[in-house]
C-alpha cells in the first residue's frame, strides 16, 4: 500500500460497511532474518487506522538480505524454524497489539530436514503464541498433491477452535519432466475436491468467514457471486449435517 490515494479511499469506504480482514503477503515471518521494521510500522499504521476484524499473514518467507522476492517461499518444519517463526509472530502481534492468523502454505517441494508434521507445527505455533489459523483449503490440497502429507491430515490435526478464516481458490496442473505439479494459481474455479474438503472443514471448525481467492483471469461479478453462493450452500449443508 502506498501512503494515500484511491486504495485507502476504498478501504475507508469498505470499513464503513463491512468488517475488514487484512491479509499480508510480504512480512516474511518465516525468514531467518529479523523482520523489517519499516514493514512492521506500516502494518501498525494500517491496523490503527482501519481497525480490522482479522489480520493474517503466511507461513512462508519472502525476503533475504536486500532482496524481496514477492513470492511465498517454503520453510522446513523443524524446531529451529518453529522457534524463529513463533518469535516473529509474537513480535508482529505485539507491534499491532492484537492476534493474527497464520495461513498454511501451498508447497511445490518439501525439505529433507523437515521432521515435524505440518499440522503439529501449526498447532504448536498456536499454543506458543496464541495466534489463530487461516486455513487455506486449496493450499492444503495443492501441497498434498505435490507430495505433502495429505490435506485431511492437516484438517484433522489443526486444533478445532483455532481457525478464524478459510480461503478457497482454484489451481492448475502443470507437467514438467514427468512430474505433475499442482499450481495454486488463483485463476480458475474452485475444484471439486476442494469443495469436498470445505464441507469437511466447516463440519469440524464451524462456519467461518470464507474468501474465494481470484488474482488472475478474474471472471465477471456474476460468476464470483455464484461461487460465493455455492460456498454458502455447502457450509449450510455441512452445518446441518453436523448438527443432526
Amino acid at each position: 500500500m502506498g501512503a494515500g490515494g484511491p486504495p485507502h479511499a476504498y478501504l475507508e469506504a469498505i470499513t464503513e460497511r463491512y468488517p475488514l480482514s487484512l491479509h499480508g503477503v510480504g512480512l516474511s515471518l518465516g525468514g531467518a532474518e529479523p523482520l523489517d521494521p519499516v514493514h512492521l510500522r506500516a502494518w501498525r499504521r494500517l491496523v490503527d487506522r482501519y481497525q480490522p476484524a482479522l489480520v493474517s499473514e503466511h507461513i512462508a518467507w519472502s525476503r533475504f538480505g536486500e532482496c524481496r522476492f514477492h513470492d511465498l517461499l517454503p520453510i522446513p518444519y523443524t524446531d529451529e524454524s518453529l522457534t524463529l517463526f513463533a518469535a516473529h509472530v509474537e513480535q508482529f502481534q505485539n507491534t499491532i497489539g492484537r492476534q493474527i492468523l497464520v495461513e498454511n502454505p501451498s508447497a511445490y517441494l518439501g525439505f529433507a530436514t523437515s521432521d515435524i508434521p505440518e499440522a503439529d507445527f501449526i498447532a504448536e505455533l498456536v499454543r506458543r503464541t496464541g495466534c489463530g489459523v487461516l486455513l487455506d483449503i486449496n493450499n492444503a490440497y495443492v501441497s498434498a498433491a505435490n507430495g505433502g502429507e495429505g490435506a485431511t491430515a492437516l484438517l484433522r490435526g489443526i486444533p478445532a477452535d483455532t481457525v478464524g478464516e478459510i480461503h478457497l481458490a482454484g489451481h492448475s496442473v502443470q507437467r514438467a519432466d514427468e512430474l505433475e505439479l499442482y499450481i495454486d494459481d488463483h485463476g480458475s474455479p474452485v475444484g471439486s475436491a476442494v469443495w469436498l474438503l470445505y464441507a469437511e472443514a466447516i463440519a469440524r471448525f464451524g462456519a467461518k468467514p470464507t474468501l474465494v481467492e481470484w488474482d488472475t483471469d478474474v471472471p465477471s461479478l456474476g460468476t464470483l457471486c455464484r461461487e460465493a453462493e455455492r460456498a454458502n450452500v455447502i457450509a449450510r449443508k455441512a452445518l446441518s449435517h453436523a448438527a443432526a
Binding site: 503477503v25 503466511h58 501451498s106 511445490y108 481458490a169 494459481d185 488463483h186 488474482d215
Partner: protein, 106 residues
C-alpha cells in the same frame, strides 16, 4: 478527509479544455467552447475522468498466486515491437520497427 483543504475543480466534466498556446489548440478538437480561464491554463487529458478504466490499471498489487510458466525463450534479436506503435506516425517517420527493418543489433 480531515486536515485537507478541498478545492473543487472547475474543470470536472468539462471535457477537453484548451491550452493557451495557439499552436496546441490547433492540434485538438474541442467538444465545447472553453472559458477564458481554461484557455489561459491547461488542458486535461481526455479520458482521464473515466475513473474505472484508469483505476483498475493503477499499478501492481500483491498476490499470493502462483504462476505455472514463464517464457525465457522470448529473447530473440528478431523480436520487434508489434503493438499499437505501428499505428502511430511521428514527425521523423514511423514509430515502430517492422520485420524488414535490418538495423536491429544482434
Amino acid at each position: 478527509m480531515t486536515g485537507k483543504t478541498a478545492l473543487h475543480s472547475t474543470f470536472a466534466g468539462a471535457g477537453l479544455a484548451l491550452i493557451g498556446l495557439g499552436y496546441l489548440a490547433a492540434a485538438y478538437a474541442a467538444p465545447m467552447q472553453p472559458t477564458p480561464e481554461q484557455m489561459a491554463t491547461m488542458e486535461k487529458c481526455y479520458g482521464v475522468a473515466l475513473a474505472g478504466q484508469n483505476d483498475c490499471k493503477a499499478g501492481p498489487g500483491t498476490s499470493c498466486a502462483g504462476t505455472s510458466k514463464i517464457d525465457y525463450q522470448s529473447n530473440s534479436w528478431k523480436l520487434v515491437p508489434k503493438g499499437t506503435c505501428s499505428k502511430i506516425t511521428t514527425p521523423v517517420g514511423h514509430g515502430s520497427l517492422s520485420d524488414t527493418n535490418t538495423h536491429i543489433p544482434a
